[in-house]
């Protein structure tokens, strides 16, 4: 049974976590014609925007209510109203996704009523634009929670409720925030290859996929359409990827009765087999040759790759569902999880992580706990720990700002699992060290692991 260890320190030293509103904005970016709006001071928006841009290397639509000192004293409702109206006038978005920040949440503002008032007051003006609210104070949760809240908010606010006629080929898919653009593209392709019609919410593959749009657009281009969100209730089946998406799926189920199946991970042969079986069952179609071929290629990669993984010690710091996805991938290849660090203790998936314990903490903790590991797995800010410890780093999660193409890495289904195997095996191969005569004294060697367990950050 995995133990969930509370934070060691009050401080966060090199934090692992990004805050909730960013996760919510990220989800809104997966909707067509959307404009995420941070309700707070303009600094948050500016900073978050820069971080998004550095990660995706794309133009990112993100707006601010630009709360100033006066608004901080008197309340932000006017700023929120002005922002919504300005946005509507200038960019004609189909969706404005309001994400609250610590500033308005600390003030305890009732943003839901504020928005209801704006909608009431300007009903005509705002026709054709949905405004939804995700309450995402920076002082709770992390990206996963923000992402899930935004999706739930969209379903609650937009999806037509009540029992509907089911379209037997239509599948609603709610992917977790740990899926890359390439993952979402590949997922759609897989589902379509069974003759099914997937509606993916959010769909970042359309909006953050590194294309060059054919005109200047100020909102997102591509992504799930608002109309598709409205009609989610006619899906025959909802498929959820990642435990954090269970809540939005429940919301959809509650509103419309669409049944859902949760896949906590789509990485690894068995998980994908289960997913493919479900698609086959829902569609009544046989597994296409192309998919079988990819499965065979993965089998081969498992054989070629397992040899490099056996006995390796892996230190991972990631959001809960990604931690689970990667930890099960690694242990499935014969590795051991030497350290598992995550952002919050709010997710049930942590109980399933194949490790002795999961530490709630930061990259400072990772750096201490990872000493002696063979691989660090975390976002780009792990690069310094990697250098100090002399352990190679595999970049996953958010942010990745110092590599290109991170959104085009596949991590799910047969092919994504295969690619992960190759990537990791190649990191190991690039970091192999031949023994020296000196290293061979069997007794000395066996005393070393403990000696290694010290780092600049361990002095407590």
């Amino acid at each position: 049974m995995v133990r969930i260890l509370r934070k060691i320190k009050s401080a966060a030293v090199n934090p692992l976590k990004s805050s909730q509103p960013l996760g919510a904005a990220f989800a809104f970016l997966g909707v067509e014609g959307a404009m995420p709006l941070f309700h707070g001071s303009q600094g948050c928006t500016s900073f978050a925007l820069v971080l998004f841009v550095r990660h995706f290397k794309e133009a990112i639509p993100l707006q601010t209510t630009a709360m100033d000192e006066v608004a901080t004293i008197l309340g932000g409702a006017d700023h929120l109203e002005e922002a919504i109206l300005n946005l509507k006038t200038r960019t004609k978005p189909k969706l404005i996704g309001v994400c609250t920040t610590a500033l308005v949440e600390t003030r305890g503002e009732d943003c839901a009523s504020d928005i209801a008032n704006v909608k009431l007051k300007h009903a005509e003006e705002l026709a054709g634009t949905e405004v939804v609210l995700a309450n995402t104070p920076d002082f709770g949760g992390a990206i996963e929670e923000g992402w899930a809240k935004a999706v739930a908010a969209m379903i609650e606010g937009i999806t037509r409720s009540g029992a509907r006629t089911r379209q037997p080929k239509k599948i609603a898919i709610l992917p977790g925030c740990n899926l890359t653009v390439a993952d979402v593209e590949h997922l759609r392709d897989m589902v379509e290859s069974f003759g099914l019609k997937p509606v993916i919410l959010p769909d970042v593959s359309g909006s953050l996929d590194g294309t060059v749009p054919d005109r200047w657009v100020t909102t997102t281009y591509g992504g799930t359409s608002v109309e598709e969100i409205r009609e989610l209730g006619t899906a025959a089946q909802c498929i959820v990827i990642g435990e954090h998406m269970r809540h939005p799926a429940k919301t959809l189920h509650g509103l419309t009765g669409v049944p859902y199946a949760v896949f906590q991970s789509l990485t690894g042969l068995k998980a994908v087999d289960r997913f493919v079986s479900l698609l086959s069952a829902v569609s009544g179609a046989a597994v296409p040759a192309r998919v079988r071929r990819r499965r065979a290629q993965l089998e081969d990669a498992l054989l070629d790759g397992h040899f490099h993984f056996g006995g390796k010690r892996i230190a991972i710091a990631a959001e809960p569902d990604q931690l689970y996805q990667l930890a099960t991938f690694f242990t499935g290849m014969g590795c051991e999880i030497a350290a598992a660090v995550t952002t919050t203790d709010m997710s049930k998936i942590l109980q399933k992580v194949p490790a002795d314990w999961v530490q709630i903490g930061d990259l400072g903790d990772l750096e201490v706990l990872a000493a002696g590991a063979d691989l660090l797995v975390t976002h780009s800010h792990g690069r310094q720990a990697s250098r100090r410890l002399g352990i190679p780093l595999m970049r996953v999660g958010f942010p990745i700002f110092d590599r290109l193409g991170s959104q085009h890495k596949l991590t799910i289904l047969y092919r994504g699992t295969r690619d992960l195997i190759f990537d990791v095996a190649n990191i190991f191969q690039a970091n192999q060290h031949a023994p020296t005569p000196e290293a061979l004294d069997p007794f000395r060697k066996r005393e070393m692991p403990d000696e290694l367990r010290s780092s600049p950050l361990t002095r407590h």
């Binding site: 934090p15 805050s19 303009q42 500016s46 900073f47 841009v53 300005n86 600390t106 709770g140 054919d214």
Partner: protein, 501 residues
């Protein structure tokens, strides 16, 4: 060097008109004050005469729902002024967002052992949770300060950088700082730079300057033997090594740089600053407050300078030397002569590849004006420039740099900037990361002029060589030849049937 040219003022005026016509009346009226065309010809060497119409309205609050690229007071204090002080631990005090967002956004280079005696590229936050908001965070701050003392005993001090909630929940970070400073016998600086204060990062600079005045100066006896040629370099954040390139020059002309604020700086350099003879101020916007204070209180003169491009380097060196007299002036001429062959070689190599190429700038701090001459030294043409968070005195200073007809824009929106770029189609845009990808997608070469796009330094003679190379690499990369503006592309593309070879 230098260059005589005039920009197409009429075109630029028309562009402003077009842009404004798209706004609702009220917003148009407000935005109109931020946009302008320079109309009076620049007179080389003119000292005080700014451009009459260059004083666009600035430092005015942003409009909700009209995203600009401004930051907040926290960005100005933590991100700009305090963050680079390398031997201090800077706590982003409040929720995790601000610190994580801003982590390693600026490339303030430094020398030191990170995690031992140096902490610039690390990130520290009190990671507020709901209970801290409800019950207050002072106790937590105390614990964090103790933890930092324990984990990083070689840190030179701590600063507490307030995030928005701190100002709302009534925490007394000053009291905590005083108490813990005493307990640990260390400098602890509380900074009230909550993000809702002011209209941009600019107020954060001011607050950060004031914190130096109130919480660092005159606190301890500073054991420091001062000399006649001691100067502080103020407002150089050592982006990509800029401060190092500048220091080489100042030392070559015989000065001693006793402090570099705040790129690669230690707390000790700040403490001893009042003992210097002259403050050389690079980024006027972010650090003029403390220079004015030092002038008032300690009688230290201050002087602006510009080390971008040989014309300005020479002028600045001579100006600085004049302050110290003939001996330094003589050395200065030798230094200038020493580097001239290098400058000639750089210009000989790159001018043919860059001559007449047009540039639009949109940056923060002093760069919208200071880098202009560096481009002109390469015979390039500045067609437009603007500041993110300037004040009126910045725009007055700009007048000396820009040519007639140059388009000037303050706190520009993405929409406006795009329209201007589309209208002018310059050969290069120099701005920030937020602008980089939209501009490139328009098929226009781009360089980040805040972070030097992972290159640098751009200061000093060495920096000029790198600057010239970078601009050449950006403008003359073959990919631009493959690229047509996407909105035009779809008509004739894709791909006429061309016979294969």
């Amino acid at each position: 060097m230098g260059l005589d040219y005039e920009n197409d003022g009429a075109l630029h005026a028309k562009l402003i008109e077009d842009v404004l016509s798209q706004y609702p009346d009220k917003a148009a009226k407000r935005r109109k004050k931020h946009l302008s065309v320079a109309t009076s010809k620049d007179e080389a060497g003119g000292e005080d005469k700014g451009l009459s119409e260059c004083d666009v309205k600035s430092n005015i609050k942003s409009i909700p729902g009209v995203m600009t690229i401004r930051g907040c007071a926290y960005a100005g204090s933590k991100g700009v002024v305090w963050g680079p002080v390398k031997d201090m631990v800077h706590i982003s005090h409040g929720p995790v967002g601000c610190g994580q967002y801003s982590w390693s956004q600026r490339r303030n280079y430094y020398v030191g052992t990170t995690g031992i005696d140096t902490f610039v590229t690390m990130q520290f936050t009190s990671d507020f949770q709901e209970k801290d908001i409800v019950f207050g965070g002072d106790k937590k701050l105390e614990k964090i300060i103790d933890e930092i003392e324990d984990l990083f005993p070689l840190s030179g001090g701590i600063s507490v950088q307030s995030e928005c909630p701190i100002g709302l929940i009534g925490d007394d970070i000053e009291a905590v700082s005083r108490k813990k400073a005493k307990e640990h016998e260390k400098t602890i600086v509380p900074v009230r730079c909550e993000g809702f204060r002011g209209v941009s990062q600019s107020l954060g600079h001011h607050i950060a300057n004031d914190a130096i005045r109130d919480w660092v100066f005159d606190k301890d006896d500073v054991a420091f033997e001062s000399g006649p040629y001691d100067v502080n370099v103020v407002g150089d954040y050592n982006i990509g090594g800029d401060a190092w390139a500048s220091r080489i020059l100042l030392e070559e002309i015989g000065l001693r740089v006793v402090g570099n604020w705040s790129g690669d700086a230690t707390l000790a350099e700040i403490e001893r600053a009042p003992k210097a003879k002259l403050n050389l101020i690079h980024c006027y916007r972010s650090m003029n407050y403390i220079c004015r204070h030092m002038e008032e209180k300690y009688g230290i003169a201050w002087m602006e300078y510009n080390f971008f491009g040989p014309s300005q380097i020479e002028a600045s060196l001579r100006n600085i030397a004049k302050h110290f007299g003939p001996e330094i002036e003589e050395k200065t001429e030798k230094v200038i002569a020493k580097y001239r062959p290098l400058v000639d070689a750089v210009i000989a190599k790159y001018q043919p590849r860059l001559e007449g190429r047009t540039v639009m700038l949109y940056v923060g701090g002093l760069r919208p004006r200071h880098v202009i001459t560096a481009y002109e030294d390469l015979a390039m043409v500045i067609v437009g420039t603007g500041y993110e968070f300037a004040h009126n005195d910045d725009y007055q200073r700009t007048g000396h740099y820009v040519k007639n007809g140059t388009l000037i824009y303050d706190d520009v929106t993405g929409y406006e900037l795009e329209k201007f770029i589309e209208g002018i189609r310059p050969d290069l845009v120099g701005s920030g990361i937020k602008e980089k990808y939209p501009v490139q997608k328009m098929g226009i070469p781009f360089r980040q002029m805040h972070s030097w796009d992972y290159s640098g330094p751009y200061h000093g003679y060495d920096g000029f060589a790198i600057f010239a190379r970078d601009m050449d690499l950006a403008i003359n990369n073959p990919v631009w030849g493959l690229y047509r503006a996407p909105w035009k592309k779809m008509k004739d593309a894709p791909l006429r049937a061309v016979a294969a070879e």
